[in-house]
Symmetry: C2
Subunit: 313 residues, 2 copies
Amino acid sequence: MKKVIGVDLGGTNIKSAIVDEKGNIIKNVTIPTFAERGYKLVVEQIEKAISMLISDEIDGIGIGSPGIVSAEKGTISYPPNFPGWKVVNMKKILEAKFNKPVFVENDANAAAIGEYIYGQKMKKPNFIMVTLGTGVGGGIFYKGELMRGETGGAGEVGHISIDYKGEKCNCGSTGCIEAYAGNQKIIYSVNNKIKTHSESKVFELLGNDLTGLEPKVLFEAAKLGDEFSIKAIAEIGEYLGYGLSNAVNLLDIATIIVGGGVSGFGDFILNPMENIIKSRVMKSIQPRVKVMRSKLGNEAGVKGAASLVKYFN
Amino acid sequence: MKKVIGVDLGGTNIKSAIVDEKGNIIKNVTIPTFAERGYKLVVEQIEKAISMLISDEIDGIGIGSPGIVSAEKGTISYPPNFPGWKVVNMKKILEAKFNKPVFVENDANAAAIGEYIYGQKMKKPNFIMVTLGTGVGGGIFYKGELMRGETGGAGEVGHISIDYKGEKCNCGSTGCIEAYAGNQKIIYSVNNKIKTHSESKVFELLGNDLTGLEPKVLFEAAKLGDEFSIKAIAEIGEYLGYGLSNAVNLLDIATIIVGGGVSGFGDFILNPMENIIKSRVMKSIQPRVKVMRSKLGNEAGVKGAASLVKYFN
């Protein structure tokens, strides 16, 4: 039986796992990234995580990484929040160390590939993958293939702008959906609005201390019927819907798969997203619009990384 | 030598021509469409135009049409501004009549194909075609192939929204760039603004009668150094730039080719477009951004239609 190692390189943790051919996790290891201490230590940490999982049974290693990734060359360039990191040829380093084939991909693209290989299991699918977390990422599958664009940068769903005079985004532009639906932005915006909603169950759940506010708490409150939270989550879904309508119109691809932590909001976020997209795309596309949650759930990162071995081999 | 007939089906006129293998027009015929009098007469008019050009030397016929086109089936469905038209199998009708292979495509996609076949002559190009006229259309070339999406509807550049609270668009959505840069919208917006700009050379050029206002006049005034007109045209380019930044970020395709009547504004519109796109897309894409005018100029419609024969054969 074929087994592979998937490594999801995050700004805080390196999540790694042995994944079997069906996409089940056999064993997993999570260790700190130490991103702030420079790329050399990060590479050592990745090697350490892999060392804890490697064996003769392993057919290959897949790495999902933030930043600009050249899948062809195996390089990871300038990942945001990794100070001092320029261009690292991860493929070369890890193949020399472990003597196994190594495949490197942008983390959002890896999530899309994971969905294709282990998730929805569609043949020659067309879908737009959206990953919701610290940032908003994405990947496009067209006719059963990852669409990479001219340099592997395609699928930047998070930097679709919904308002050219809108919120400032870290990328330098304005109105990008990441500037409305990224994790920190959600917290910031909820913090601002909740002050006039003392009735919200969020206060109760947090014992009146908003410093613990995170998306999970909003979700808990929404499940308890808290109107403020339901509305706040719906608003995020609507912003995402405004942006994704543009992608759907441009690509004539009507299936949206949502992954990443914030996708855990489930129908509270997916339904408003779908409604907005349906109301805004070309009439001929409307009946096909479908927004669904990633089948890989919280393991999308590490499973996506693992899926690279199967996809590229 | 291979010759083909291209037919550009417009709401007002049917423009048709014999085009040689290099894309030169040998002979052309323009007759009225009579769109308002129902689809049967329109089909007769198309047949009439073709009859005036057909001979044993012709290898095939290409039709560029508004509306939803199934290139596979050869059907044209619900073209806007063609009352009473539902679904017409143009390929079947014309192949039966003329006994030549017939290829049907959406007019904006045909313009993109024309650019590929007769225009830029790039190998395996990646580009986004934008056609500026009554509406704003588009087509995407990716790895040397027209990107059709799930149902042939891909490339709807005109319905990328730049402001989710923005101008109402005919498509039912808000903030679409067509609602800012379509011909009528340009005229409407200029008419509104020019009232407080009595110094504009537009008044002079029109003998103070604004009923004759059309994009061409703005262009003439801009060439004379008229600041109002230069600014008005730049603003249209900026709106287009806001929208196209989204397409560039999503596709990682950085070459934009602009065709259609309004592209005649030349650098007055292309430079502001390019500047906005460069300032808004991901940093890794910025240096590659290039906005250029279609090489086919005003003949993009009929040459695009003609190019279908070569592209699909």
